[in-house]
Symmetry: C2
Amino acid sequence: MRIALAQINPVVGDLQGNADKILACCQKAHALSADLAVFPELSLIGYPPHDLLELSSFVENEQRTRAALARAAPSGLGLILGGVAFNRNRPGKPLHNAAFLYEGGSLLGVAHKALLPTYDVFDERRHFEPGTNRAVIPWRGRALGVHVCEDLWNTVSEAQALYDTDPVAELAAAGADLFINICASPFAVGKRASRETLIAHAAGTHGLPYVFVNQVGANTELIFDGSSCVYGPHGKALLRLQRFEEDLAVWDTADTALEPPVPVNDPIASLHDALIAGIRDYFHKTGIFSKVMIGLSGGIDSAVTCALAVRALGRDRVVGVSMPSQYSSAGSISDAEALANILGLRLHAIPISSLVDAFEDALSEVLAGTEADVTEENIQARARGTILMALSNKFGYLLLSTGNKSEISVGYATLYGDMNGGLCILGDVLKGQVYRLAHYINRGGEIIPENTITKPPSAELRPGQTDQDSLPPYDVLDEVLRRYIEAQQDLREITEATGFDKAVVSKILRQVDRSEYKRRQAAPCLRVTAKAFGDGRRLPVVMRKP
Amino acid sequence: MRIALAQINPVVGDLQGNADKILACCQKAHALSADLAVFPELSLIGYPPHDLLELSSFVENEQRTRAALARAAPSGLGLILGGVAFNRNRPGKPLHNAAFLYEGGSLLGVAHKALLPTYDVFDERRHFEPGTNRAVIPWRGRALGVHVCEDLWNTVSEAQALYDTDPVAELAAAGADLFINICASPFAVGKRASRETLIAHAAGTHGLPYVFVNQVGANTELIFDGSSCVYGPHGKALLRLQRFEEDLAVWDTADTALEPPVPVNDPIASLHDALIAGIRDYFHKTGIFSKVMIGLSGGIDSAVTCALAVRALGRDRVVGVSMPSQYSSAGSISDAEALANILGLRLHAIPISSLVDAFEDALSEVLAGTEADVTEENIQARARGTILMALSNKFGYLLLSTGNKSEISVGYATLYGDMNGGLCILGDVLKGQVYRLAHYINRGGEIIPENTITKPPSAELRPGQTDQDSLPPYDVLDEVLRRYIEAQQDLREITEATGFDKAVVSKILRQVDRSEYKRRQAAPCLRVTAKAFGDGRRLPVVMRKP
């Protein structure tokens, strides 16, 4: 049997557009003599649909469009599509997350997702009822063990296991001779390897081939790497599809001795490629922006964001804006110019000193007799934010915000100022990684100006300011944040593990907690770790922690 | 048996502070000769804790603090407390949401919440495993049918039922002679009545008294009305506690013929009181602000927000700021002044014309040759937003944002401008209801100036502008929004039900969908309907709908 793995990049909600894309893949698969074409989870809907699933007309439309697609597909080709099925056994949630086998327009089998993730960014119990019956789907002499995404995931250590069933084992027991998993598993650094470990384990344990088809592309903050693959009954890879790109490849079940190249495991390279996919898809899938725009301070964050945007969209679709104030160093202005020159960008220079003066004039009476503090620094950031939004409004530019995870964590950013933007590129990237990204971007020659990388980081909101006036060294800060936010350790655990000064760690944790209100109003940020700000991390704004 | 219903207002996460509050209630209950004191769901944690429950040290701390509290309580008093229990039967989520009966420091019984809501603002499957064993807790000669919140909720019509078990019926079958429900059920207009219908049904169906203890007070966007009550075996109310206020009352199980007054069912009065509780608790529970501040435009939204803030916090804690531009009418300025005079407020007047000029100067080169459009309007709104944030930064004022649900729905608001603020008061209140609130506020005499109520609503961002230049009449808009957002109807359903012009309705729906990105960055808004913006309504930013 020849199986086409169709790794598509859907637009969430765009039923007809996604169906058209699927149909084109079907035709390509048929031309490659495939028997069966397999598509990712919720193929026509795209993942994650969130509360679109609460609109009954949308759900009905998906079912109609899917049935029409199945009828339009080449008649000799089997199709496995993800979609929603009604739950006929109420009580319970109204829908199942399901995989459907079609041939010649007829529905030949359905498998309901059994394991519904309700952690991090996932809320599947919100809309779906778990499937309870596991049965293989007999087709063309084979017994297909079709299942959906998380159904593979019940192979973690027993102490942490979330689920009391293992659908893969149940399908094997029911006589499956081939596993097929349709998935929408988002990227995080290191995720592909851990996912393939699960696949290898499932294939090897049951001695059966395993076909894994993942969604690719970014939808708002979630980036899907694709990385679809086939593993053989010996638990080794037979085929791997592209990362971060649409791809289609055919595997013949008779080919059990293939040896695909082992993918290079470079966390910074994959981070780089993921962020580019995130920018590219936000821009193209919204489809309403003429260009993207970045405020260029001469600093490392905006330079890296800008270089990534140029890589994602091409220099003609990227605009830089430099907005020097009285506190901007000559070096910063020239660093922004150098970056724009190297990348071949249009750079607007709009000085803000007169705006800052105008705000100070307007406020002189009400602020009379007060000392300068963060207020005046924020006025500069908000004047810049307003300039950028004016250009966005006038010219249809998508403003990219440039804050990194380290500063967003501790609130070292101005709400309604430098936090402005439709998408935050580095919001899940710690400062140390931003530097590593800069070196990676420069691997073939200088793109990020050397001076931008080597000078001490500064917000340049008052004379001679550097980040380390307000923050601990970034290597300390990043290590604490990694433990507090990603590993969810507490003060005692962090100080014991790191030996860092308790007062320093304690201050960082308080800053993180107190900045929750800023993050609640932040732009969506591209998720590249297992715990990003946004949907996957939900904390009350009003709270007091012990 | 004398049972104290202790309707407390906890601060989320403040384990020791909440424990102190509970202990004071215990002493009061003991002084009133109570046998048993009953507290709301997650008594020491407060609801909703969200991902605080993922911090193992927090969970352990809750258990320690609860055990110490139980030991400190008067020895002759039984206590029913909400808290978290470890799930000893992994696999599954690590915790149960539970009710605990203590006496003399000893744990005498535990009931795990069986029905875990995963809709609207609720994500309980994220942290909890459902309880599977229903057993009564025998105590002082009675059989207590203790259960938690949603466990009451499985009495809706069969077609809509979410759950396959009815814990209340199971407790009755197990021999309960008294139901006790500990709850954290948030307010929405009309919710108290529907909740009491469920309680009456449960009590009457099983012929048993029903004690219902609800949380009170607001936590970020969720407002809890309290409205704890006792129903008798005849299915009628015996006792009702205060709305929106902490309260403690004792019911003697021998008192089966009480007839508490029937609460007045005035949606606008309850909306008014709910919003006041929301402002009051955000301000006091954060505890870091000196005052609240409102930008007063002379319009209805800011006037109503301001009047509510004065009611919640007192005039000395409220500051008004008037920021006229060249497009502000003389009437608007005098209306803001009139409001401040009536309320006895401090009003700062900070004209923004020179700021708008400074922005236009700074942008003159880059915007040369373009026509005036929404860009210039947004500059005014963002100049005002920056002024307000400067005062917030300098003086520690909490900025309240004043947008209503109608305009936030269709994006008739400036991101980083008038949307600025820590809390949005009217974000779940449609424009028509804002007018009704104004009349209610004026019921005893003019507080909202008559001219503010009668003039045509306008953003005053260009000469002679009114809202109806850009929007359909508010009665049409509100009706469409109620159906689209709250009832989740689609274009066809709305036009068929209302007879409104299809093009008008279609444009509104597109505006709602296209404004998702603004709402993603909006301040938390107080939830007063069954479907508010925020946690309870989750839609992708990047999507295309059919």
